[in-house]
């Protein structure tokens, strides 16, 4: 039996039933990662010792009869989430050698639930990017076609789950960084409502937007993982106090009667026709099962990307001010003055995209420009939220493509950051509005510029109302019962035994 592509729910069940031990499962995944990851670049760090020790504890807990929801499930953690005693880099040279003395709250909760942390996953530096190419430690490649990007910034988190190097991973999403790579790698990814999951231990990119969330191979696995990591945390004052519902039972509900909003602005110029076909077929599948399509309008859509990049870069310029070479991480040697030390440390420590965003954000916050940029963007942000909420008053969730196209080639867009930014068009609105959104696989399509090229995953995005994760999971799980896109694996080439 091939453990690599079992669901997290199934692994947990088997370990609990003692059909397989957590140590065996962990060994299996560590072996796979050791064999396959050199080609993919998913992991920045594997922690065999720690993982096996943790697995042994899980087995001991099982022997005592403890009932753990993620019993022995092998998990990868995006390297922007702090892990106690394990180097955490945020994909940046500036954090070289930084070992946090604490676990991020979500990581700690996964461990307590029986999850086994295999290691740390690659990402665009400080979660800034949509291709996985901005990591200081080399790009991650798409398991469906290693010449193509896996998306970003949770590049390693999506690619590792797709390639069966872990059953479940944590990503973080600021403007689409869970959903977009999940879409391009053919896996499921959920960005929770802002405040649903604690940000304590999440290295900040844009604090008012950042959310950690699960990437998995099924809606049910997302549900179990979210149930573990969600909920209030005294260490994060922006965490929502509402109790955490039973997401797994939400997955069992029928889609009949669901009103699905279809925003016409999301099906227009720039959307690849093959992607649109897959998304419309997905809608048809849900409607055939009793859901109802509702036409909704989101006229502010053209403003979302610029609004997002103003707010995100302004907050980033602030959040990244602490990397100054004084207390931890990189410090450029041989500087004659304090200012020189700052300049040389930050120039050597940050990559091009991070520097670009710090500059943009610093510019936007300058005295005298705040009103024109940050304040204005905050006002538009509120309007975008209002618009989405009023659309969601007419439906239960909003359906759209996750990305305008399928995975592109490495290097294809690195020279054109604006084109890269614009590919975030469908994901940034839910981020700005703080709404939950999920991306699930809904088809395979060839790249627009190569109709005879490889078939690549297409993502379907569902956006829900505040704290509406249950309705998203209900629709996603229903879709996955009716289709098999989520169980398709990357081409056999990836599965060298």
């Amino acid at each position: 039996m091939d453990l690599a592509f079992l669901s997290a729910v199934e692994i947990s069940r088997q370990v609990r039933a003692r059909q397989v031990s957590a140590v065996e499962v962990t060994r299996h995944f560590l072996d796979r990662a050791a064999r396959l990851d050199a080609r993919l670049g998913c992991f920045l760090l594997l922690d065999p010792e720690g993982a096996l020790a943790q697995a042994a504890e899980v087995d001991a807990a099982c022997a005592r009869g403890e009932d753990l929801p993620l019993c022995g499930v092998p998990i990868g953690i995006k390297d922007i989430l702090c892990t106690r005693g394990l180097t955490t880099t945020a994909g940046s040279r500036i954090l070289a050698g930084f070992v946090p003395p604490y676990d991020a709250t979500c990581v700690e909760r996964l461990r307590r639930a029986g999850g086994v942390v295999l290691g740390k996953l690659n990402l665009d530096e400080f979660a800034m990017g949509s291709s996985g190419e901005n990591s200081a430690f080399g790009p991650t490649r798409n398991p469906w076609d290693p010449s193509r990007v896996p998306g970003g910034s949770s590049s390693g988190s999506a690619a590792a789950v797709s390639a069966g190097l872990c059953a479940l991973s944590l990503g973080t999403d600021t403007g689409g960084s869970i959903r977009q790579p999940a879409a391009l790698c053919g896996v499921s990814g959920l960005k929770p409502t802002y405040g649903r999951v604690s940000r304590h231990g999440l290295i900040a990119f844009a604090s008012s937007l950042d959310q950690a969330g699960p990437i998995a191979r099924s809606a049910e696995d997302l549900a179990v993982c979210l149930g573990v990591i969600a909920g209030p945390d005294p260490l994060d004052s922006t965490c929502l106090p509402e109790p955490v519902p039973d997401y797994l039972s939400a997955c069992a509900a029928s889609p009949a009667g669901l009103r699905i909003g279809v925003p016409r602005q999301y099906f227009s110029e720039g959307l690849e026709p093959a992607v649109e076909r897959c998304v419309r077929q997905a809608l048809a599948v849900l409607c055939a099962a009793g859901a109802v399509a509702v036409d909704v309008s989101l006229p502010l859509t053209p403003h979302t990307v610029s609004t997002y990049y103003l707010i995100a870069t302004a907050e980033a310029s602030s959040n990244l001010a602490r990397y100054d070479g004084v207390r931890y991480g990189l410090r450029a040697a041989g500087s004659a003055s304090l200012t020189e030390m700052y300049e040389r440390t930050r120039a050597a420590g940050f990559g091009a995209e991070v520097r670009r965003r710090i500059l943009l954000g610093t510019y936007a916050l300058r005295s005298g420009y705040y009103d024109a940029y940050y304040r204005r963007a905050s006002q538009v942000r509120r309007l975008i939220r209002d618009e989405l909420l009023s659309a969601l008053a007419r439906c239960d969730l909003i359906l759209s493509p996750t990305t305008p196209g399928v995975a592109f080639r490495l290097g294809e867009r690195t020279e054109d950051p604006l084109a890269m930014y614009l590919s975030d068009i469908y994901t940034t609105s839910a981020s700005l509005a703080g709404l939950p959104a999920v991306s699930i696989p809904c088809g395979l399509a060839p790249p627009a510029d190569d109709p005879d090229g490889p078939l690549l995953p297409v993502g379907l995005q569902l956006i829900g109302p505040p704290l509406g994760e249950s309705v998203l999971l209900r629709a996603a799980a229903a879709f996955q019962r009716l289709t098999d896109w989520h169980v398709r694996r990357p081409p056999a080439a990836m599965e060298i035994p």
């Binding site: 946090p100 304590h200 604090s207 260490l235 922006t238 310029s317 602490r322 100054d324 931890y328 940050y374």
Partner: protein, 483 residues
Amino acid sequence: MSATGPFEAVIGLECHVQLQTRSKLFSAASTRFGGAPNSQTDPYTLGLPGTLPVLNEQAVEFALRLGLSTGCRIRRVCRFARKHYFYPDLPKGYQISQLDEPLCEGGHIEFFVGTERRRVRLLRIHLEEDAGKSVHAPTGTSLVDLNRAGVPLVEIVSAPELSSGQEASEYLRAIRRLVRALRISDGNMEEGSLRCDANVSVRRRGETALGTRTELKNINSFRFVQRAIDHEVARQIDLLSRGGQVVQETRGWDAERGTSYPQRGKEEAHDYRYLPEPDLPPLHIDESWLARVRATLPETPMARYDRYVELGLPHADAQLLSSEPELGEYFDRTLSAAGGARAARLAAAWIGSELLGALHRDGRDLPSSPVGPEALAELLRLILDGTLSGKLAKEVFARCYSSGERPAALVAREGLSQISDALAIEAVCRRVIEAHPQQAAKYRAGASKLLGFFIGQVMRETGGRANPERVRQVLESLLGEKS
């Protein structure tokens, strides 16, 4: 105000007061002063990635005490903002402060300049976190101590309504008295728990527009505040009188040389790139919280002063007794034990002279006084009921102070009570007059100064225990009888 001639000074103060909470403004790290460098820290204080601020409610409550007792409007919803600049003792690269929506606005501070009561308006009071300390070694290396980083501060910004170094210094003392009375800070300038920057400008009398201002930094003792400001006012007047112009800049005060020096010009001024703090939700102050704080608000020094004046105390006594909460409480306890308002002036006088004199002489503080308020009240009652004369009372006080014995017990044991009995006094007076017939004759012939001689004789006879007032009355009447 001839010192400033045709000019007048316009001064506003920004005071930073460290709040004496046990933990820091946004984390559980201890605020203890004087620990080994970087021992009072935690991941948040160090600015480690992934850490988030969690607001200390005690600090908010302390700031509310200050806001309520200075008559501020309290914002029901206020926000925090990030203020950015790079410096090694600022771990996050920004300070969490408040900008557009401070906790408290308006309000005022009242104080005395001499006997004149002054009231200076406040623009705002807001909460912010302190920075760490940089220590620059002579070798060229710099060391950073983050023990102070994150300690809660309130910044109190006055309107530009002060007009001299003396006023500024009195204003600052009033703030110190207030924060001590409210038990929110020790107001200790030497340890840096009270710090002050001054914005100083001058203009010709009669003008309404403000002149170009300079900001004086680091004036961290009461003495220096007055000197630094007066020095800066004189410097600006001198500049203007000679046809020059004041340059907007930040100036530091060099206490050793008694002069100020330019630190940073307008062009080098920081652009703080304020950003609403996304890690903290807006702070909501609900009515029940405010009511709770209001109900437990300690009496302010000025309210205490007014109460004491109403009790009949002279200005100086009322001011002294309202300057420190321990002193006022000692007085209040003495008064209630001594039987209330009729003892007020006497109690004030005794605390102000005998008690504080003795404590000062011995380098002791009030809480460790061997004569507690109840003991002092006992002494005052013995004076008021005529048992002890002033002179005897001082002796009793001195003995109680050194032995710790209670006054009533001492007086009873040693029979020190004053002789007020009219017949007893009359008997002694008669004896004394009979013993000194010549002096009596002279007195009767008009040498009224001799009355003092007779009083002295009677007091000697009674070992000082006779009530001097009674003695005088009796002597006058006896000496007046026979012609």
